[in-house]
Symmetry: C2
Subunit: 339 residues, 2 copies
DNA sequence: AATTGTAAGCGCTTACAATT
DNA sequence: AATTGTAAGCGCTTACAATT
């Protein structure tokens, strides 16, 4: 029943009958200690259950092997699978991750930034789409950082995400090839770069199909379920209806589906709907949502890989890695209804 | 453009023209330093942007003010709002939280436990339903801990969660008062204590209504969407059908809804369905799910409050705090169909 | 040249002593 | 009694010296 305080390097040294320096070397640079000594040390480690105190180590070395992940909303369906990619890649390189849940609260963000300045973390992953609030307040330079999902506007922070333009184009082309000619775009944004790029992909596809842009079929929205519902209502107050809805993301699409169902339409017979993201919920709305899948785990993996590289090479320039998304065909798209 | 290393207590001391001991006291026990000195120190802090190095502080003091939260799956819809309750309460008491995402991987769990033994964290919140793997391996006692959502079986770890029996009873009574007499229970479990308690609540309600138990209407399941779908299929292979489905949780209910819809039934007209948890998705399945709401944020808040108390008083005994859940009426329950 | 130990120091807190 | 400073030490890593 080993109780008491955890073993320190001192305990190990005493048992192995060496100095603490030798213990440290046996652990971190084993080839610098004689084989027999190394064995005695390893035995002592086994006996004591020693693990090195990360705080003391980081304090002494002036850096840690922890990466801080700043996320405004841990409940975001895009977050958890990306996190897994981040974690696995970090681990493979001997790094650990610290999750900073900011709840979009600048104060919390600031608190987590202290992990950086105090050396508890050395690198930064941003889910936020903007530089952390008040990092200038702290009077510190940002450490090596990488943004995921949403590029950081006007910053030299690297970015790993999906190719929004290409993905949206795929979505629109799927609708077009099903025969749709009047397609609404739901979720136009003046502020979110990623959503603007999706709009761009939509425009390109329609243009390539020689369909003239129709501004009345482009509705704004902030990418929430509620905004999708709202867009449907707005559209129904006008004279003309599209035969298909291309939504800026799945949340919007779920809202559109809801709004349409609430109005008594039979989907996908009456209207086709396509989303973007492929969140877990996409499979169990009714009809199941045809959408564009973000390669989330791969995004996480690549982002971490890039970050670790730039940890080793501080002169590395900004990079943007765009991954290609896939079309996932489920039940919400079919040919246009005869009306 | 303040660059360079972050300010240390030494920098502050030099500018304020005091010793570092005085700086430390000015920060942590301000009434022990003269007012004029305190002011000079505060000014120096403002100038330098100093924040105390948490690692050095914890190392010196032998304890930190961080709570480790061990979660097997951050994507679980129950997690994020509970986390907010935990975080807010921790913060109100000057504690921070560290999120350990174990992915159900014992090795990862073990890694995070080192935060405890190295003093990077002092308390533990468990979402796992079991003691962390291998904490005996580390040869260490568990620190003050509290479990949420799933009590830790056979352990003296305190527990804060919903009153499953009472909640399930409410659900069943809602079905009964809508006129249902043949109700299936989907998601019976041999292993999950919380789910067993829900089953218990169900039995109690039926018994109180003098409805004899019907074992053919009790189907096992692990609480996933898939298991809900499966249960529907199993039921339809039998001779007799219930008029309502009481599901052990919302995920199961979504599966049941799906399975029923896929078979062409009109819900809730043909069958009523009730869930448990009130996950975010419950609002946008079709029909919207009537369910029992877990007071997630409150659970988080109370759990953290209890934990912090036991941090102050190590002799505290195990406690179990059961919060009362509410019935949330939406669209998935109505009277039984005439058939 | 290979192996080991000595001692300093990372940034803090706090017991104790010293000063007013 | 109120206020301040001195110095030790938390658990480590590593430059340097010492030994073989």
């Amino acid at each position: 029943m080993p109780n008491s305080a955890p073993a320190t390097i001192e305990d190990v040294a005493r048992i192995a009958e060496v100095s603490i320096a030798t213990v440290s070397r046996a652990i971190h640079t084993p080839d610098k200690v004689a084989k027999s000594t190394r064995q005695r040390v390893n035995q002592a480690i086994a006996i004591t259950g020693y693990t090195t105190n990360a705080m003391a180590r980081s304090l002494r070395m002036g850096r840690s092997n922890m990466i801080l992940i700043l996320a405004p909303d841990i409940g975001d369906p895009n977050f958890s699978s990306t996190l897994i990619g981040l974690e696995n890649e970090a681990r493979a390189h001997g790094y650990g991750v610290l999750i900073g849940h900011t709840q979009n609260d600048p104060e919390r963000g600031l608190e987590y930034l202290k992990f950086l300045s105090s050396g508890q973390a050395t690198g930064l992953v941003l889910f936020t789409g903007h530089e952390p609030f008040g990092h200038q307040v702290l009077g510190q330079r940002l450490p090596p950082s990488v943004a995921v999902f949403e590029p950081v506007f006007g910053s030299k922070i690297s970015y790993v995400g999906v190719d929004d333009v290409a993905g949206a184009r795929k979505a629109a082309e799927h609708l077009l090839s099903a025969g749709h000619r009047s397609i609404a775009f739901i979720g136009d944004s003046k502020t979110r770069l990623g959503h603007q790029r999706r709009r761009q992909g939509f425009d390109i596809a329609l243009d390539a199909a020689r369909i003239p842009p129709n501004q009345r079929f482009v509705l704004e929205g902030e990418g929430t379920i509620e905004s999708g519902r709202l867009a449907v209502e707005q559209l129904f107050m006008r004279d003309q209806l599209p035969s298909a809805f291309m939504c800026v993301n799945d949340a919007t699409a779920v809202g559109v589906l809801n709004g349409l169902t609430a109005r008594g339409y039979d989907l996908p017979h009456d209207f086709s709907v396509i989303g973007f993201d492929d969140v877990p919920q996409a499979t169990y709305v009714n009809p199941a949502l045809t959408t564009i899948r973000q390669p989330r785990t791969a995004i996480g993996r690549q982002a971490m890989s890039l970050l670790i590289k730039s940890l080793g090479d501080r002169t590395m320039e900004r990079q943007e890695i765009l991954l290609m998304p896939d079309l996932i065909v489920r039940g919400s798209v079919t040919g246009p209804a005869r009306r």
